[in-house]
Amino acid sequence: MSTLPLAVTRRRRRGVRHTLDTRVSPYAYVAPFFLLFCAFGLFPLIYTAWVSLHEWTLLSETQTFIGLGNYGTLLADGYFWNATFNTLSIGVLSTVPQLVLAIWLAHLLNKRLRFATLFRISLLLPNVTSVVAVVVIFSQLFGRDFGLINWVLGGLGAGHIDWAAGTATSHLALSVMIMWRWTGYNALIFLAAMQAVPRELYEAATLDGASNLKQLRSITIPMIRPTIIFVVIVSTIGAMQIIAEPMLFGQSTGGGGGLATGGPDRQFQTLALFVYEQGFANSTFDFGYASAASWLMFLAVVIVAGINFLLTRKVKGGLV
């Protein structure tokens, strides 16, 4: 008799603990990610908007609210528009050929193949190399006087090109670096999607006499459309944020103008590099102005990613 109430409380206590364990503990398990994201992802994002409405520098203790003043100055700033143009130009030059090439490579790899692993590893090798290493290596290859690329071009009868000096040539050189680093990675992502396409479709198409290219266009691309859209969006977001390549290229080709200008004439300064210049490389450390530029950059990312999303959906839809 006397043990019964005790047993009931014990069971009830176990019940509470059990409820805590099954109902509440899952939140604790996913909490680290959300806490970290709020502290180091979301908060900085929102705070950027707040800072952008102020005259705010690292050096001064006081900040004055100036509303949209920074944005007004930015829209009249020629360097900002120059950086926007460079970002779009390098983005298109590096992303479009890269994705076409990646789909084609994935298509080539998506057959029974000898040395398949070896090919895949070599494709991913550039992606394992750090940005710094990539730019240091390619700055040598693109060197004006002793670069291997100019030597080959010279052999073909072309003159020596000062790659870093011109707008078009520097954009081309940077795009080659970006493509070298990312084409193989994207090819593997496409390959993963292609492997999920039923083999019978290809067998039937082969029986019907469809060529390799025709199969790629009429079977593969429509079937992997979600992956294509995903990769296009991710690549767009990445391309809009390019910073390390132009920064290091300007440094290691030594054209002058410092770390953050993207060449002495700002011929390859990207938007992200412009933000860095205003916030960290200028003697003013103008956080307010740089934050405003960040938000305009974010706007540009959203717009361009949105356009690309619509384009990818439409173009591929037309092919089916």
Partner: protein
């Protein structure tokens, strides 16, 4: 058929050649670069050049810093991602699907955008110039959580968890005794991917660290900027800082590629 092998071999060549050529230059003397035709085989100067790298920048310290940073981040990401992946894949709780969607959506947020407040935060915490500024924000990330969720929902049998429950395991007990052993192969791949990207991270360390206490990438950029015409020095540093990673990749490449492709499906 033959054309396919030819194309792929060509692409493989272009992927590997810049790395090979960097070793060629790094093992030569500066004067060799002016030769016509340029040298295409490695020379015997590599160790002399590498020693110069260590004399010019604090490269030993940089290697140590990178090892500490990338190592701690990898361990933390493996642990927290497996934990969250377990919850998302196998536990029932209110708001789960919405939270998973939010997790994936955060991958689309351009990280560059918040760099200024992030820096201000680090100043407040007095973490600038220290490895904390690199490690703490990177302890877990959306990709890792998503990656482990994908893997565990496929590889972890629900019956096994139920059996554990019947035996009186708490959720934590299940995680420790059932989930962790199952997650090991995928967590290892995630760890390697994380280590590589942490090792290669450049921009944030550049902003938040000082040149006298750098990571490998920051030290390399110092090397490349200070000695404009000394390509040999820059490339020798690049080789020392990159080759360990390339070797690891060559050894475990198959698993790493499998991991990338698995994480990508339905991304």
């Amino acid at each position: 058929m033959r054309l396919r092998y030819l194309t792929l071999t060509g692409v493989a060549f272009f992927s590997a050649f810049p790395l090979y050529y960097s070793v060629v230059v790094a093992s030569r003397h500066n004067s060799a670069l002016a030769q016509v035709p340029p040298p295409l085989l490695p020379g015997g100067n590599f160790f002399t050049n590498a020693a110069r790298v260590f004399d010019t920048v604090p490269f030993g310290l940089a290697l140590l810093n990178s090892l500490i940073v990338a190592g701690s981040i990898s361990v933390a990401v493996m642990f927290f991602s497996t934990l969250a992946g377990f919850a998302f894949a196998k536990l029932r709780f209110r708001g789960k699907n919405a939270m998973l969607v939010i997790t994936v959506a955060t991958m689309m947020v351009p990280a560059q955008l918040g760099i200024i407040p992030l820096y201000m935060l680090m100043v407040k915490l007095e973490w600038t110039g220290t490895n904390y500024a690199l490690i703490v924000p990177a302890l877990v990330n959306a990709f890792g959580v998503f990656f482990m969720t994908q893997y565990l929902s496929r590889a972890l049998p629900t019956e096994l968890l139920e059996a554990g429950r019947v035996d009186g395991c708490t959720t934590w007990g299940l995680f420790w005794h059932v989930v962790l052993p199952t997650a090991r192969p995928a967590a290892a791949v995630l760890g390697m991917l994380t280590f590589m990207s942490a090792w290669n991270d450049y921009f944030w360390p550049l902003v938040v660290l000082s040149p006298d206490n750098p990571t490998v990438q920051v030290a390399l950029s110092t090397l490349a900027s200070g000695y404009v015409n000394d390509y040999v020095l820059g490339l020798a540093g690049t080789a020392v800082g990159t080759l360990p990673l390339v070797l690891v990749f060559a050894l475990f490449g198959k698993q790493i590629i499998g991991g990338i492709m698995q994480g990508a499906v339905k991304g």
